[in-house]
C-alpha cells in the first residue's frame, strides 16, 4: 500500500477544471430563488439525495461526482446522510405512488431555507413512466422544484454545471 501511495504522489492529479455553470440553470434559478436565500446558502451546500422511483441510472452518475475526475467536495458541495443536515434535496425518478409519502416526509425533515433539484428526464414529468397507475408524475407534482437538470441520465458534467449554478450568487 505504501508503494501505491508513493506512486500516486508522483502522478499528476486527475481532477479536471470546473466547468462553467449552466446558463439555463442560472436563468431558471434567477426566476425562482431569491437572492437572500442564495447568499445564505450559496458558499457551501449539503445535499441529501432521494431516489423517488428512479431506475438507478441517475444515482450512478450522481455517484460519479465523487470520483477523482469531478471531485465535487472541492466546491464545498457534499452529500450528507440525513435530510436534517441538508440544504438541497436532489431528487431522481418519476415519483412513484409508493415513494410519495417518504419524499414528502424527507422534505419536511429538511430545515429551511432549502432547495429542491430534480434530476433526470423522469423527474421533469415522469418521462417514459408518465401515465402509469403507480406513478404520480415529475417531482414538481409533489414538491416545489427550484432547478431541473435534464438527461437520461444527465452526465456528471451536466450535473456539475447545474449544481455550480446554485453556488453562483446572482
Amino acid at each position: 500500500m505504501r508503494d501505491r501511495l508513493l506512486l500516486e504522489l508522483l502522478r499528476a492529479p486527475l481532477t479536471e477544471p470546473a466547468p462553467a455553470p449552466d446558463e439555463a440553470a442560472l436563468a431558471e434559478l434567477a426566476a425562482k430563488v431569491d437572492g437572500a436565500a442564495r447568499r445564505r446558502l450559496g458558499r457551501s451546500l449539503a445535499i441529501r439525495e432521494v431516489d423517488a422511483g428512479s431506475c438507478n441510472g441517475c444515482e450512478l452518475e450522481i455517484h460519479a461526482l465523487n470520483n477523482v475526475y469531478y471531485d465535487l467536495e472541492r466546491f464545498g458541495i457534499r452529500f450528507v446522510a440525513s435530510p436534517r443536515h441538508a440544504d438541497v434535496l436532489l431528487v431522481t425518478g418519476p415519483v412513484t405512488s409508493n415513494m410519495r409519502e417518504a419524499l414528502e416526509r424527507t422534505y419536511r425533515a429538511t430545515p429551511s431555507p432549502k432547495w429542491v433539484v430534480a434530476v433526470g428526464d423522469c423527474a421533469v414529468d415522469g418521462g417514459l413512466f408518465a401515465g402509469s397507475y403507480a406513478v404520480v408524475g415529475g417531482v414538481s407534482a409533489v414538491l416545489p422544484v427550484d432547478l431541473h437538470i435534464r438527461g437520461c441520465p444527465p452526465s456528471p458534467t451536466t450535473l456539475l454545471k447545474g449544481l455550480l449554478a446554485l453556488l453562483h450568487v446572482a
Partner: protein
C-alpha cells in the same frame, strides 16, 4: 427421460413459442412440477401472471433443458408453488397484487408490491378502483429476551435506491432481517402492454439503470426469438462488447464500493477512476456513457468506427496495466480481509434451491452463467472461464468480481479482433409470436419473456431480475452477523431495487 420432458408429455405445445417449448398443462402436471422443484430436480427460472393464466419457466440444470409451463386459471386460482418451494413466494404475492390471481395454499399472502398507494387494486387484472389507503405491514416476528428492532429506510443514508429493512437484533447481532420492497414500482408490466416495440425496448432498458445493456439485450433476444429473426454477426459482437463494458463498469464500481464500506477508501478511489474510464470510452464509442438504447430488437443502434475500436483497445490496455495491482492491494491488506473473510456467509444449498445467479451464486459454488448455459451468440465462439468460489462470504463475492474483470477484458479483446464489416440490424416483421431469452447481466441472469400481438405490438412482457432470487438470500446471509456489517454484506450482493420492483 429428463424431469422436464416427463412434465411436458401429453401437454399441448404452443407452437409459436421460441426458442424453448411452452406447454399448456393441467393442474396435475403443475403440481408434479412443484414436486420436482421442491425435490431440487428442477430450478425455477421465473413465475408470472396473465389475465387468466400463470406461467412458470423451469430449468433442468443437468441436461440444460428449459421450458415454460402455462396453467389456465379461469377461476383466478392456481396451486401455490411457494407453499412448497419458497423462492416462488414473492413472485406469487406479486401475481396476486397485479392480477388478483390467488395462489391456493400459499403460506404468505401479504401484499408485496401493492402498498395500498395506487388508485386501483389489481391494476393488470380487474382494475378495481380503490382510494389510497396505506396498508400496515406485518413483519415476520422474532421472539426472545432482549431483542430489539431497527427499522431502516425506505430513504437510506447513501446515494442508493429505496427499500425498507427491518432488523431484529440481540445486542449487535442480527437475529432476523426482513426486507420490504416495492417502493420504486413504476408499473412497467402495465406500460409494456400495448406498447410499440421501440417504446417497449426503451422501457426494458430503464428497468434497472445499471444493467441497461443487459436488459435491452434480453428484451431484444426475446423479440428476435418470437419473430424468428437473427441479428447480423457484427451486431452480435457489438452487443457482447457493450455487455462486457457494462460488466466491467459495474464490477469496478462494486469492488471499490464494497471496500469503501469497510472504510478502505483507497480502493474506492482507484476503482472509481477505472470505472470512469470505462464510461468515458463507452460515451466516445457509442454516444452514451451507460450505452442506453444502443441495443435494439434486430441488432444495434450504434456502430463502432475505427477510432472507437482504438479507444476500446486503449481502455483494455489501461485496465490490464492498472487493475492487477488492486486485487494485490486487497490481498495484502489484512485489516480489509478481516472485514470480508467469513462475513455474510451464504450456504451453497440455499443458492442451489433459489437458483441464484451472478456473483451471489458463483460465490457459493453454483457455476451457472447464462452466457454458457443456455448460452447465446457470440459467447459460444468466444473463450472465457466462469470463476467459482465455494466460501460464500463477502470475500468470495468480491473475488468473483475481480476474476470476472479479467475475463471481461479477454472477451472485449476477442470481440474487437473478430469484428468484421457488415450490417448492424435485421428487419423485423410485424407479426405475432412468443419468445423468451436468458441473458447474463453483471448481477446474474435476466429473463425476458414476450408475447407479441397480431399488430406486432407487445401484448405481454415479463422481465425477471436476478435480484428476485438474491434478495431473500441476503436475509439468510446476514443472520448471526453484526448490524455494522450489513452495509458490507448488502453491497457484496448489490441487488437491484428498481429491477425487482418493476
Amino acid at each position: 427421460m429428463s424431469a422436464l420432458a416427463a412434465l411436458m408429455r401429453d401437454a399441448n405445445r404452443v407452437t409459436s413459442h421460441q426458442p424453448w417449448p411452452r406447454v399448456v398443462v393441467k393442474r396435475q402436471a403443475w403440481s408434479a412440477a412443484i414436486d420436482d422443484l421442491s425435490q431440487r430436480r428442477l430450478t425455477l427460472l421465473s413465475l408470472w401472471g396473465e389475465a387468466a393464466a400463470v406461467q412458470m419457466a423451469l430449468l433442468d440444470e443437468p441436461t440444460g433443458e428449459i421450458a415454460v409451463l402455462g396453467l389456465d386459471c379461469p377461476d383466478g386460482r392456481f396451486p401455490s408453488v411457494g407453499a412448497r418451494h419458497s423462492p416462488a413466494q414473492r413472485l406469487e404475492r406479486t401475481i396476486a397484487d397485479l392480477f388478483g390471481i390467488v395462489a391456493e395454499g400459499a403460506g404468505d399472502v401479504r401484499p408485496w408490491l401493492d402498498h395500498g398507494r395506487w388508485a386501483m387494486r389489481q391494476p393488470l387484472g380487474a382494475r378495481v378502483a380503490s382510494p389510497e389507503s396505506p396498508m400496515p405491514y406485518a413483519f415476520l416476528s422474532a421472539e426472545g429476551e432482549g431483542l430489539h428492532q431497527i427499522p431502516v429506510g425506505p430513504v437510506h443514508a447513501g446515494i442508493i435506491e429505496p427499500g425498507h429493512f427491518r432488523f431484529t437484533a440481540n445486542g449487535e447481532t442480527v437475529v432476523r432481517l426482513e426486507a420490504r420492497l416495492g417502493y420504486v414500482h413504476k408499473g412497467i408490466d402495465h406500460l409494456m402492454a400495448g406498447a410499440e416495440l421501440e417504446t417497449a425496448a426503451k422501457l426494458a432498458g430503464r428497468t434497472s439503470g445499471d444493467s441497461t445493456v443487459a436488459y435491452a439485450l434480453a428484451f431484444a433476444r426475446a423479440v428476435e426469438a418470437a419473430l424468428a429473426v437473427e441479428p447480423p454477426p457484427r451486431a452480435h459482437l457489438l452487443r457482447a462488447l457493450m455487455a462486457e463494458l457494462e460488466r466491467l463498469a459495474n464490477h469496478l464500481g462494486d469492488i471499490g464500493a464494497v471496500c469503501n464500506d469497510a472504510a478502505f477508501a483507497l480502493m474506492h478511489a482507484h476503482c472509481g477512476m477505472l470505472r470512469e474510464q470505462v464510461l468515458r470510452t463507452a460515451d466516445a464509442c457509442f454516444g452514451h456513457r451507460l450505452m442506453r438504447d444502443r441495443v435494439v430488437p434486430g441488432g444495434v443502434a450504434a456502430d463502432l468506427d475505427p477510432s472507437g475500436q482504438a479507444a476500446v483497445g486503449a481502455l483494455v490496455e489501461l485496465l490490464r496495466g492498472r487493475f492487477p495491482a488492486l486485487p494485490r492491494l486487497y490481498d495484502n491488506t489484512a485489516s480489509l480481509l478481516d472485514r470480508t473473510v467469513t462475513t455474510g456467509i451464504l450456504r451453497p444449498d440455499l443458492v442451489r434451491q433459489f437458483g441464484a445467479g451472478g456473483y451471489v451464486g458463483r460465490g457459493s459454488g453454483r457455476a451457472f452463467d447464462a452466457r454458457r448455459l443456455p448460452g447465446h451468440a457470440p459467447y459460444d465462439r468466444l473463450d472465457f472461464t466462469v470463476p467459482v468460489q465455494q466460501e460464500g462470504d463477502v470475500h468470495a463475492r468480491l473475488r468473483i468480481r475481480m476474476d470476472e474483470v479479467e475475463q471481461s477484458l479477454r472477451l472485449v479483446s476477442q470481440c474487437l479482433a473478430r469484428l468484421a464489416p457488415g450490417p448492424l440490424r435485421a428487419e423485423l416483421p410485424r407479426q405475432p409470436g412468443e419468445g423468451m431469452a436468458l441473458v447474463e447481466g453483471f448481477r446474474g441472469d435476466i429473463l425476458a419473456w414476450i408475447r407479441l400481438g397480431p399488430d406486432g405490438r407487445v401484448a405481454r412482457c415479463h422481465l425477471r431480475d436476478p435480484s428476485w432470487f438474491q434478495w431473500p438470500l441476503l436475509e439468510a446471509a446476514i443472520e448471526g452477523n453484526i448490524v455494522a456489517d450489513f452495509p458490507l454484506c448488502n453491497k457484496s450482493f448489490n441487488c437491484s431495487y428498481s429491477g425487482h420492483d418493476l
